[in-house]
Symmetry: C2
Subunit: 351 residues, 2 copies
């Protein structure tokens, strides 16, 4: 009798489904059928055969790479959590418009590919190169502008040349699943996943800031509801943690409860996860199950709670990273709802 969790549907066209992350705890790699799906457009229906990755713009030598060429180059692999910049958007108060992601717009896989740096250097950068634009094969319309747009994002040269930014062709030792970007996906460890362009078809080197709508309108922190003042681009993943078990507003018998979850950051590694079972009055260190050989991977954590006293409890989890960043009590509200990383609060009843 099959009993299994399911992806959590947010919208069907385009397909946006959340990972049932509370029901797949204790995993270093997210089962692919539970990997969250986030699309801006319908799936691209026609991928060119043979598939070329073209590199154009301010390069010494425009290049077309086919898949065999890419696979013959030196490769790197990383276990990387991909997190949608809008993960946990539904928790902002005041609430914001957009896909109402709760906790599951994050999943983790092992990605293998060619360092982007090697590809850029093979083509050769012209001296006024400033940004690198990545164009996917997916396209469609927007509600706020007239026209048809490809999904495209840019990286500043420094991040494009980072040795761990890769053009991936494998996910968990297999070709990338179509819904996750087959055959090529840019993977930018440490940045929110809008940057990790799926169905990557074209790389264009430019000498000025890229102004495509997914760069200049979306994925920008706007601190004010009615003004664009003080806006800044969404880039690095904020330090964050999630309580996977127990569930919010769940009821339990007295006894030992193993509180568990994950913590992650885009900047360094997780050094500490603290748990409070008394709404922040006292804190205890959780046990961390780090992966020292996988500097980008999320850290699984657990805390054994002897829940022998009946009552209602407010449980908090707070992660700190090696750059000294700690989750705040209040999220940084922004109009489009990106980068939520406030300390998570759940309530449980012991009876």
């Amino acid at each position: 009798l099959e009993i299994r969790p399911r992806l959590i549907t947010k919208t069907l066209i385009p397909e946006n489904q959340e990972s049932p992350i509370h029901f797949i705890n204790g995993q270093k790699i997210s089962p692919l059928q539970y990997f969250y799906r986030r699309n801006h457009f319908p799936y691209p229906s026609l991928l060119p055969k043979p598939y070329y990755l073209t590199i154009r713009g301010l390069v010494q030598q425009p290049f077309d790479f086919n898949l065999e060429q890419l696979k013959s180059m030196p490769s790197k692999s990383f276990v990387v959590p991909l997190e949608c910049a809008g993960n946990q958007r539904a928790k902002f108060s005041p609430k914001v418009f957009g896909e109402q992601w709760k906790d599951g717009a994050i999943s983790q896989a092992e990605w293998k590919g060619v360092p982007l740096k090697d590809i850029l250097l093979k083509a050769g950068l012209q001296k006024d190169a400033k940004e690198v634009v990545f164009v996917g094969a997916d396209y469609g319309m927007r509600t706020d502008m007239v026209g048809v747009f490809y999904y495209a994002r840019s990286l500043p040269l420094e991040k494009a040349l980072h040795p761990d930014t890769i053009i991936a062709y494998e996910c968990n030792g297999q070709p990338i699943p179509f819904k996750h970007g087959f055959p090529l996906r840019l993977i930018v460890p440490g940045w929110y996943a809008m940057t990790s362009v799926k169905w990557l078809q074209q790389i264009i080197v430019i000498d000025e800031p890229f102004t495509g709508p997914f760069q200049a309108i979306d994925y920008v922190y706007y601190p004010y509801k009615n003004s664009d003042a003080d806006k800044k681009p969404v880039t690095t993943i904020n330090v964050n943690s999630l309580i996977q078990f127990p569930l919010d507003y769940s009821v339990h018998n007295t006894g030992t409860i193993v509180i568990e979850g994950i913590a992650w950051t885009g900047n360094g590694v997780i050094t500490k996860v603290e748990i409070s079972i008394d709404n922040g009055e006292t804190w205890n260190d959780a046990n961390l199950d780090s992966q020292p050989d996988q500097p980008y991977a999320w850290t699984q954590w657990s805390f054994v709670w002897e829940a022998y006293e009946k009552g209602e409890y407010i449980i908090l989890a707070k992660a700190t990273d090696s750059n000294g960043q700690t989750q705040p009590f209040e999220p940084m509200w922004n109009r489009k709802g990106y980068g939520y990383n406030a300390i998570q609060e759940i309530r449980v009843k012991i009876e």
Copy 2:
């Protein structure tokens, strides 16, 4: 490329999954794979073969009905929405403990079976009979009491003898799916679905109020957080409605938007659904797609909105039934979170 909605996992043991009701709009019958699943215990693993429905207690003649006997009796069919009493529990404020159902703990099917009345009369009721207890094959432990309990509920004699209360053996023209109560399920049209006992094995006629925990502790409205004063049993489904489209906090282009959803009640039929696109200042009647031959079925409704003016809108839906009951602006808060039926409010942005 398969893109489909999914059940929404609440808990796996027991299996509690919500229907993705916002993504299966426009349907008179809920696709069975999207029928919500609500269990108190693990699925019963061993159903007796052959399967007998026993009737005991204050009857003239104890009876064991096998399936063939039941199927040879006169039958009735109804399209019935089954709604968990805790549907929309997550919307109560202050929030309450328990399964955090949102909108999808309701689904509709056609159920066919033998009127319970005919079975009771065949066995013959003794004159002091007051309630009829229904015992399912599912059992297990509770967090609040010591011991192992079968899932069991009772009906007052009047409701048990209502001609539309049936012992169902078919769902949508097929044997009942195991997860929904195969081979026999009590179906009580108009009452919340905790009463429609699955895997029905035993009927017991008694002369006093049934005190099983699913009758006397759960499925009781407790108006106060810290007192049991003024409690009353959960029975009839409250008049209610749901906006299935558009989604809460969704963003749309200017143009025509067909707002649509369902409305239902346990007492009479839906006579009116009113829609407001200005947070309740003005109301308009929705078009109703009633099923006059199906007095219990939900009513599909729609309202054409010419959304040509950009801005943020608060859309409300309010249903009224033939007993003059209308959805309230505020839900009747109760400690265990049953019977939520406040007017639904969604926000959309037109840009």
